[in-house]
Symmetry: C2
Subunit: 100 residues, 2 copies
């Protein structure tokens, strides 16, 4: 069973390059979490200051408890959260529907 964390990140226009650099700096903070299984950041074609963040987790609690309640999350937040306007909604999705 795996879980996909998904968030659409609206970055303040003009700060895209700094945001990508900060995300590279922050990556080890999330990647050190048990149950972390990969991260992808994609840029929107329609709105260039918008990104799609995908993080794969073994289980929901690996994100909500294992990462968000860690000290590493405080550093993640300090590195990244000031880039977002508005602050993103983060959702979790199950493994793909089968037979599709």
């Amino acid at each position: 069973m795996s879980v996909l964390e998904c968030a659409i990140l609206n970055v303040r226009p003009g700060q895209e390059s700094a945001f990508e650099t900060a995300m590279r700096t922050a990556r080890p903070l999330i990647a050190a979490t048990p149950g972390f299984d990969g991260i992808e950041l994609r840029r929107c074609l329609e709105v260039p200051s918008r990104y799609l963040l995908h993080v794969r987790w073994r289980a929901l609690k690996d994100h909500t408890i294992g990462f968000r309640q860690s000290e590493r999350y405080e550093r993640w937040r300090a590195l990244l959260h000031h880039f977002y306007d508005p602050f993103p909604v983060v959702e979790h999705y199950s493994a793909p529907v089968t037979i599709l």
Copy 2:
């Protein structure tokens, strides 16, 4: 170069099973499009009537022109669009940002 089509689909509550069946029926319509490279449907853990649709395309125009201007899209629309409330925003994202 590949493109990820991404849409959050809010399905009318109670119609989730019928929607998944319709998506299976509709899948060959989109899969027959040149440049189609895979489809995934995931269910939201927080809102069970919400789904995340990902379609991978070789290029943006394979979706916006190749599929949406085809007759197959008319059938796709007839099979699926009545499930959505509100009607989804569909966006496209580039290949993952490198080095991340």
